[in-house]
Amino acid sequence: MNPELILHLILWPPLAGFLINGVFGARMPKWLVSTIACFSPLLSFAASVAAYIQLAGQATTVKLYTWFVGEGSAIVDFSFLIDNLSIVMLFVVTGVGTLIHVYSIGYMSGDRGFHRFFAYLNLFVFFMLLLVLGSNLVVLFAGWEGVGLCSFLLIGFWYDNLEYNRAASKAFVMNRIGDLAFLVAIFLTIYTTGAVSFADLHDTMTNDVRINDPAYVAISLLFFIGVCGKSAQIPLFTWLPDAMAGPTPVSALIHAATMVTAGIYLIARMHFMYDLVPVTQLVIGITGCLTALVAATIALKQNDIKKILAYSTVSQLGFMAVALAAGAYITAIFHLVTHSFFKALLFLGAGSVIHGLHGEQDIRQMGGLRHKMRWTYGVMLVGTIAIAGLPPLSGFFSKDEILTAVHSHNMGFFIALALASAFTAWYMFRMFASVFHGAFRGKNETWEHVHEAPWSMRGPLVVLAVLSLAGGLLGLPAITGQSHRLYNFLVPAIVQPKISASHAFEYALWGISLAVILTLLVICFKRYGSSGPSVPSVTPSFFERLLVNKYFIDEIYERLFVHPLKIAGSWLMHRGDYGIIDRVVHFPGKVVESGAFALRNLQDGKLSSYLLYSVVALLIFLTLFLIF
C-alpha cells in the first residue's frame, strides 16, 4: 500500500461515519448506527497499524493539494505528515477511540440522541486525526478548532439542561482565548520565518543558534497560551471540570484521553523551537507544577466522582507539561499514552458505576460496590493503582521517568511533582475506597437496583485494564536492563537525549515512592473503606492514636501539610477558580461590555444624532489628513 492510500484510509472513515450517521442516522436502526460509528475508527486504527508496519519509521509527507498560497513565501498545503510521533498519537486516538465508541453503545443505549451522539463522536475523531496528522500549523489549527467545536457540542449534548449549556459555553469561550493566541502565533511564525510546515520550521530553527530570540519567545509563549486553553493549564483550566457535564464516554475520550493532550502533542511537535527558548520552558515548568499541585489538592476535597477524575486529569496534564519543560518530550508522550489508557479506564469505570447507580455521582452515596460490580471493581482497581503509581503498572514507569527527568533539571519542580504524586495516590485511593469498600451509604432501593454493566461496556474496560497493566512495557527504565521501546521508536521524530539517572537514585526513588504510596493506601482504606453510614469523621481515641502510630504521623503530616494545602485548594476552588480566575478571564469582556454600553447610548435611534455623528467623523478625518 502506498502512503497516500494509507492516509486516506486513516483520515476519511470517521468523517464518512459522521456524514452517514448525521444525515441518515435518525432513520436508521440503532444497531446500524452503532456499527457504522464503531467501524469507522476501527478502520482508521487498522490503517494506522498498516502505516506502522509499512512506513517503518520513515517520516512521510502526503500532500493532497495546495490549500492556499499566502502573500510572500508561505504556501499552505493540505498535507499530512506520518512519522513515528503521529503514529503513536494515531494509536492512542483511534485505539482508545474505538474502545470508547464500543463502550458508548451500551452507555447511551437509552438516549434519544443516540445517532447524534455517535455522529459527533465520529466527527471528533476525524478532527483529532486532522490535528495529529497535519503537516503544518494551519491544518493542525483546523483540527484544533474542530475538536474544540465537537467538545462544545458534546458537553452541551443534553441541551435541555441550562447548566450544561453554561458549561459548554465556558469551555468554548475559554478555549477561544487559547485559540486566539494560537492564531496570532501562527501569523507571527509566518511573519518571522515565512514557513508553516513543521519540516520547514524544523529546518529553519535547528540551524538557528540564537537562544531566547525575542520573536521565538513570543511565538512559543503564544503557543503555550493556546496549550493552556486546550490542555487545561492554569489559568485556563476551570472549564475542564465543568466539562464533565457531558456524557461520561465524552469525558473519557475528549476530556481525558485525547483532546486535552493535544497541547502536549503540539509542544512535542514543535520541540525544536522550545529547545531554543529556555525562558518559555521555565514558564511552562512553573505553570505545569502549579497546575499539577493545585488540581491535585482540589481533587482531595471533591465528592463528585467525575470531578475527582477531572481534576486528576488536569493534574496529570501538569505533569506532562513539566516533563516538556524539562526537555523530556518523549517522556511526556510516554505519560500521555499511559495516561490515556488508565484515565480512559477510570472514566469508563466511573461511567459504569454511574450507570449502575442510575446517575448517582456523589461518592458519599456509594460504598461497598465491589460486591455487586465485580468486573468494574477489578478494572477500577487496576486503573487506580496505575495512576497512583504502583509498580509494575504503566503509570509507575511513566511518572517515574518524569520525576527522573525533572530531578536532573530543576529541584523545585521535582519536589512539587513528588508532592503532587503523593496527593494523586491519596485522592485516588480515597475515591476508590469510598466507592467500592465499606458499606453502601445510599438509599436502599438504589442498592437493590445496582447492576453490573453490559458486556459492550465491560469489554472495552477489560481491554483498557490490560493496556494499563502492560503499558509500562513501552518504556522500561534503563535500570531494568531493557531498552526503552518508545524512546527508540520516537527518536527519529523527536531529537532528545536519553533520560537516565544513577542506579542509586532510581532505587531510592522507587523505594520512597513505593513506601509513601503503600502508606497512603493503608490509611485511605482505613479511613474511607470502613463500614458506616457515611464517610467517617475520624475521631479516634487517644489510645488508638498511640496504637496506630502511623496514623498519628499522618495526622501531623496532614496538619502540617495537607491541611493547609487543602484549605488552599478549597480557597482556590472557590475564590481562585470561580472568583479570581473567572474574573481575570472575564475582565476584557467586562471592559468591552462597558465600552459597548457607552456606544449603545450613542445609538439612540434618532436620525439627527446619526447624521451629526457622521459629520463629526467626517470632520475628524478631514482634519487628520490636512494635518498629516
Binding site: Y65, T66, W67, F68, V69, G70, E71, G72, A74, F78, V138, F141, A142, E145, G146, L149, L153, G156, Y159, D160, L162, N165, A168, S169, F172, V173, R176, I177, D179, L180, L183, V184, F187, I190, Y191, G589, V592, E593, G595, A596, F597, L599, R600, L602, Q603, G605, L607, S609, Y610, L611, Y613, S614, A617, L618, F621, L622, L624, F625, L626, F628
Partner: protein
C-alpha cells in the same frame, strides 16, 4: 454587457406586468431566467450593442467579475421571493422587479468608468432599496427603516456628489481615471475624502455605520438579505474600482485611512454586537465588522491583487444570505427575530439550524469554511504590507466576534422543541447548496481564487 443591462430591465418590467395578472407564479422563474441570461452575457463578454455604452462601462477585468458576483447574488436571492407569491401577496412582481433594477444599479456601480454612470447606478440601487425597506407598509418599524435609510441615503448622495463636483472643478474631468496627481493638492485630497466618506456611509463602516442596524432591523428580512449582500457588494465594489482606477495617483495616506476605518470598525462593531438580542441587529453589526475585514484587502492594493477582496465577497455574501434567509423563516413563523425565537431550532428544523450554524461559523472564520480562508487572505495582505499590528487586532476581534456568533448557535441548540418548522424543499435545497459552496470554498479555495484571478 449592454445586453445584460437590457435583459435585466426587460425582465424586471415583465415581472411587474405579470404582477397585475393571475400568473404570478411565473414571476420568479422568469426573473431567474432573465438574470441567468444577463449573467451569461456578462461572463461570455458579449460585445453586442456595447457601443451604446459610450465608453462609460468597463466590460472586462475586475468589473466583469464584480458584475458576475452581483448577478450571482441576485440568482441566489430571487428564488426566495417566491415566498411572497406563496403567501398571496400581489406585490411580488414589484418586489422582484425592484430587486432586479437594484441589481442593475449595482452592476452599473461596479463597472463604471465615469462618475456620471456611477452616480446614476448608486441612485438606482438606493431608490429601489429605499422602497424595499418600506415594503411592509403596515409595520411602523418598516416605515421607520425606509425613512432612516432614505434620509441617510440622500445625505450620502449629497456628500458623494460634493466630492465628485469638487474633483470635477479641480481636474476638469468626470472620468474616474481622469484625476491628475492628488498628492500635494490638499483641496483635491479633501474632495476624494468626501467621495470615500460617501462610500463609507453606503458600506456602513464605523464611524459611518449608525444607520445600518436600525435599517436592517426594520426592513423585511428578505430585503435585509439584499441590503446586506447587494448593497455592500456594490458599494465596496465601486470603492474598489475607484481605488483601482486611480491606483498610481492616490496619496500615501490612504493606507492609514483604511487602517483607521478598519480599527474603528472591528473594535466598535464587535463591541456593539455583543449585547444584541435581536438576531437581525446582531447580523447587521456582523455585516459592519465583515466590511471592515474586506477593507483590509484594500491596503496597498496593487493591480491584479484584488482577488482576496473578491474572495471575501463570495464568503461574506454566501454566509449572510443564508443567515438572513433563515432568520426570515424563523421570524415569519415566530413574529420576532429575538434570540429566544431561535431556541430549539436545532430540533424544529435541523436543516435551517445546520445551515445557519455553518454560515455563522464561516462569518466567525472557522476552519474549513470560506470565511476562514477569506480572513486569512486579507490578513495576509495586511501583514505582507507591514500592518502586522492591525492583523493582530483583527485576530483579537475575531475572538470577540465568536462570542456573539456563538450565542446564536448556542441558542439554536439549547432547547428541545416539539413544534416543527418545516419549509419547502426548494428553500432547504438552496440553503444546503449555499452551505456546500461555503465549505467547498473553504476546502478548495484555489479553485475559486483561480476563477477570480
Amino acid at each position: 454587457m449592454m445586453t445584460a443591462f437590457i435583459f435585466l430591465c426587460l425582465f424586471a418590467i415583465a415581472a411587474m406586468f405579470l404582477g397585475f395578472t393571475n400568473i404570478r407564479g411565473a414571476i420568479v422563474p422568469l426573473a431567474f431566467a432573465g438574470t441567468s441570461i444577463a449573467l451569461y452575457s456578462v461572463i461570455s463578454g458579449q460585445p453586442f450593442w456595447n457601443h451604446y455604452l459610450t465608453g462609460m462601462v468597463e466590460t472586462g477585468g475586475t468589473a466583469k467579475i464584480l458584475c458576475a458576483l452581483v448577478l450571482l447574488n441576485a440568482l441566489a436571492l430571487i428564488p426566495f421571493y417566491a415566498w411572497y407569491e406563496r403567501r398571496g401577496q400581489e406585490e411580488v412582481g414589484d418586489f422582484t422587479g425592484l430587486f432586479l433594477f437594484a441589481s442593475m444599479g449595482a452592476m452599473l456601480m461596479v463597472s463604471s468608468t465615469h462618475y456620471m454612470s456611477l452616480f446614476l447606478g448608486v441612485e438606482i440601487l438606493s431608490i429601489a432599496m429605499y422602497v424595499l425597506a418600506g415594503a411592509d407598509r403596515r409595520k411602523s418599524k418598516s416605515n421607520e427603516a425606509a425613512l432612516k435609510y432614505f434620509i441617510t441615503g440622500s445625505f450620502t448622495s449629497a456628500i458623494l456628489l460634493f466630492g465628485i463636483g469638487m474633483i470635477y472643478a479641480l481636474t476638469g474631468s468626470l472620468e474616474i481615471a481622469g484625476a491628475v496627481e492628488v498628492e500635494g493638492q490638499s483641496l483635491l485630497q479633501l474632495a476624494y475624502l468626501f467621495v470615500f466618506t460617501g462610500f463609507a456611509l453606503k458600506i456602513a463602516v464605523v464611524p459611518f455605520h449608525f444607520w445600518a442596524p436600525d435599517v436592517y432591523e426594520g426592513t423585511p428580512t428578505l430585503f435585509t438579505a439584499a441590503m446586506a449582500s447587494l448593497v455592500k457588494l456594490a458599494s465596496i465594489g465601486a470603492f474598489l474600482r475607484i481605488i483601482q482606477l486611480n491606483v498610481d495617483l492616490l496619496p500615501a495616506w490612504l493606507n492609514a485611512y483604511y487602517a483607521m476605518l478598519i480599527l474603528a470598525t472591528l473594535i466598535l462593531g464587535n463591541a456593539l454586537a455583543i449585547k444584541q438580542q435581536s438576531v437581525k441587529r446582531l447580523l447587521a453589526y456582523s455585516g459592519i465588522v465583515q466590511a471592515g475585514f474586506i477593507l483590509m484587502g484594500f491596503i496597498s492594493l496593487r493591480p491584479g491583487e484584488e482577488w482576496p477582496v473578491l474572495f471575501y465577497f463570495i464568503a461574506y455574501v454566501l454566509a449572510s444570505v443564508v443567515c438572513f434567509v433563515v432568520v426570515h423563516f424563523v421570524e415569519s413563523r415566530e413574529g420576532t427575530d429575538a434570540l429566544d425565537a431561535f431556541r430549539g431550532l436545532g430540533q424544529r428544523n435541523p436543516i435551517l439550524a445546520g445551515t445557519i450554524t455553518l454560515a455563522l461559523i464561516s462569518l466567525a472564520g472557522g476552519p474549513f469554511t470560506s470565511g476562514f480562508v477569506a480572513k486569512l487572505y486579507v490578513l495576509n495582505q495586511a501583514v505582507a504590507n507591514g500592518y502586522a499590528a492591525l492583523a493582530v487586532v483583527a485576530v483579537v476581534c475575531t475572538l470577540m466576534s465568536v462570542y456573539y456568533y456563538y450565542k446564536v448557535i448556542n441558542a439554536i441548540y439549547s432547547k428541545s422543541a416539539d413544534q416543527a418548522l418545516p419549509i419547502e424543499p426548494v428553500y432547504s435545497g438552496l440553503l444546503i447548496l449555499f452551505t456546500l459552496i461555503t465549505l467547498a470554498a473553504g476546502i478548495l479555495p484555489s479553485f475559486f481564487t483561480g476563477l477570480l484571478k
